[in-house]
Amino acid sequence: MIEDDIYRTSSQFRLWSYTESSLKSLRTKTNHIASERVRAALRRARERHASSTPSATGTPQTGSDVEEKDIECLTPEEELVLVRYYCEKTVELGETYRPPLPTNVRVSLPTTGFTQRLEPFFLRGQPKLTSITYQATAIQYLRRFYLTNSPMTYHPKSIMACALFLATKTDNYYMSLRQFAEGIPGDTTADDVIAPEFLLMQGLRFTFDVRHPFRSLEGGVMELSAIAQGQAKPAPHLPHHTPESLKQGLLSIAPPPVPSTSITDRIGRAHGATRELLKSAAQMTDAYFLYTPSQIWLAALLLADRPLAEFYLDTKLGGPIDPTAMETEPSNLQNPLYDLRTKLLQVLTDCGALLQSYTPLSSDPDQMKILKRIAKKLYHCQNPEKVNLKRDSAVPRSTPAIDAGAVTSESETERLAKKRKLEMEQKQRGAHDMFGPELVLDRTRH
């Protein structure tokens, strides 16, 4: 299928798709390395403290009890809960924005050059056109960032605003930094927002494209309504359908759980319910890492209106195989896409189960209690050397920013740092010259 090949070229598939086991092992690895570093950093801090305090104040053994027992670090599961909480906070931040941010930035309309600039303009009056992709992008940035970085190293609170700001930029909703910082409740300054930007981008491996299922949903609903009007064309692999037969098929599917007045109404309801699922459950779970956007939205549609979604899938991949006709002709003759269909249904079921397993943290008091405990724990095991991000971001980072992740990225950052240093030296050497530095490296002169 050519659409699948197109998706395979995206960075989301190439860099940000994982199996469940690899996702888990990556998180464990990140957590492990980060804990090591936190312990080492705290030990160093204490040593420094100890070397300076005894001579000055002479209170030697007060902190040593804490020093003796090992610092308790977060587990990968606790980290995950924490990140999820801050993802929810991101949505809140976007929604409670003052002045109110449009809840969406990337409209589901295609953009080309000139019209791109037009978009916010004609979107303002039409909230129905919009989706929440910009917050969703910010959330995915956070989730991707915390795959290779630990909340113990960088507190999500400091990263969160930056992710949101970065998402406004990548999702084509321009907003000045000052304007953005003013809207954040509390005393966050523009510098605080922008400080971890490079760090965040590095954690994202400089891939800003996030493929969301929102526009996909629009496409599916668009086609469903075309079927309902009897205008749809059959899928290329199933040419025996006609617009009329498709319409009859749609009208004759099993009634929805909630009775609806007409088929258009039914599609509208399914659309709304699916979108709610995509906005919440799809964002807060690992769905983006484990499934493709089209699988996510179809799984969500299955949850919202099962008969409708199944009908739609059948128009694309052919219906189930008639077991009575099995003797006369094998399955691949009845439906050439049957293998794909069975495999896909399994995946959609899994994805649906994942989406259903989500419950918002803030609505669950037990979860909140756990969260409070984690927050307290985090307070003690925060890496003291990484707290002040502003100072770090003043100079492009020369220390490896990523805790784990690809091994190559570590050596890559080192190499880059070295290169940058060389360039800096070169610049400084020529800084005093009125006409700038030498054009040719003065290697030849020595």
Binding site: S17, S22, S216, E218, G220, S225, T399
Partner: protein, 376 residues
């Protein structure tokens, strides 16, 4: 053997078999023949009988219809030879296959023999009807190759003619140069000898030996004309060798426009001619159809409430906004990756990359060391 002079030398009392007038009465009389029946008659008879269109031959017993324009003068004295030469020319004109067109020398020889047989049959009037039919059929089937070969032959003939002319010119030039050179050499020799003698005459006895030695040296000088002649012969031999190589190396470059070999039934051992396949038009997408989709077929427009609003909105239309773009993008995103099973494909990819990474273990070690240093 036979020539125009031959006719002139003929007997005075030669008589036209049609009008019975003899050369004695009419010294300018010319005899003509028609290749249809080869009956001889005088020019005035031809004019008289055939100027008003085709008529039958006036010779008793011959009922062939003749046309005036086919009458011509006899080349050979013997009518039999004349006829044979005509037949041979005609057959050779049709069966004009060339040696390059055959698989082997043997096949070509067989063809030559077959051709001779046909000629002999026609000359001796054996199976004339059958042979003629064969020839006609062959000529019709192989019209193109016959024409191509004729053109080739003509070309060869003209180029041969040119070559001959060129060679003659060269020879003439060479001879002239040689003559001039010889002349100058002779003059020089004479001058030297005179000089030699005068010096001997004027010089003393002691100088005589030295002067004689000098004279020998002059004789040793080889004439440049002779040298250039040798060069020329050597070059010619080399050129001959070169053409031989070429002939064996690239046997068939032309005359393969005939397409398939329709004459294969008649002439055996013809080389199979491979016509190069016509080049296909260039396909920049390498077989990929640009707008092809596997999961859906895009419509011209979709009934969707909020899009209708856009369709009529001038502010949107003014920018050149095309809803087709929107349709194709949303539909593509709706299905892009539907058949990508991340769990399987990524697992496979990880396995492959793990294999690839296990080799450069040193970099991993260095990175780990760096991490350790950082932590310490």
């Amino acid at each position: 053997m036979a020539s125009k002079n031959g006719i002139d030398r003929r007997d005075e009392d030669e008589v036209c078999p049609v009008c019975k007038s003899s050369r004695y009465l009419n010294p300018n009389m010319r005899f003509l023949i028609n290749p249809e029946c080869y009956h001889k008659m005088c020019e005035s008879c031809v004019d008289r009988i055939f100027s008003s269109g085709p008529a039958s031959c006036p010779v008793a017993g011959c009922r062939k219809t003749l046309r005036k324009n086919r009458f011509r003068q006899q080349t050979f004295e013997d009518i039999g030879v004349e006829r044979e030469v005509d037949i041979r020319r005609r057959v050779m004109h049709i069966l004009n296959r060339r040696e390059e067109e055959f698989d082997s020398k043997r096949a070509y020889d067989d063809f030559l023999e077959q051709r001779e047989e046909i000629i002999a049959n026609l000359v001796c009037r054996i199976d004339v009807a059958k042979t003629e039919a064969q020839l006609q059929a062959y000529a019709q089937e192989n019209m193109q190759s016959i024409k191509a070969n004729q053109a080739l032959e003509e070309q060869e003939a003209t180029s041969f003619q040119k070559k001959i002319l060129l060679e003659q010119e060269e020879t003439r030039m060479r001879q002239q140069i040689a003559r001039e050179e010889y002349e100058s050499e002779r003059r020089e020799q004479q001058a030297t000898r005179e000089d030699f003698l005068t010096r001997l005459a004027s010089g003393s006895a002691a100088d005589a030996a030295a002067i004689a030695r000098e004279g020998h040296k002059v004789h040793l000088k080889k004439s440049s004309a002779r040298r250039s002649e040798e060069d020329r012969i050597r070059q010619k031999q080399a050129a001959l060798r070169g053409t031989e190589v070429k002939r064996t190396g690239t046997p068939l470059t032309t005359a393969d426009t005939a397409g398939s070999t329709p004459g294969a039934g008649f002439i055996k051992g013809l080389r199979k001619i491979k016509t190069p396949e016509p080049e296909k038009p260039y396909d920049p997408f390498m077989g990929l159809v640009p707008g092809k989709r596997d999961y859906y077929t895009q419509l011209e427009s979709y009934p969707y409430a909020f899009l209708d609003k856009l369709r009529s909105d001038l502010t949107v239309q003014a920018g050149g906004y095309d809803l087709q773009e929107y349709y194709s993008r949303t539909l593509l995103e709706a299905f892009a990756g539907l058949g990508c099973f991340v769990q399987e494909e990524v697992a496979k990819r990880d396995a492959i990359s793990a294999l690839g990474i296990s080799k450069p273990a040193s970099t991993e070690g260095a990175a780990m060391a760096a991490v350790g240093k950082n932590a310490a």
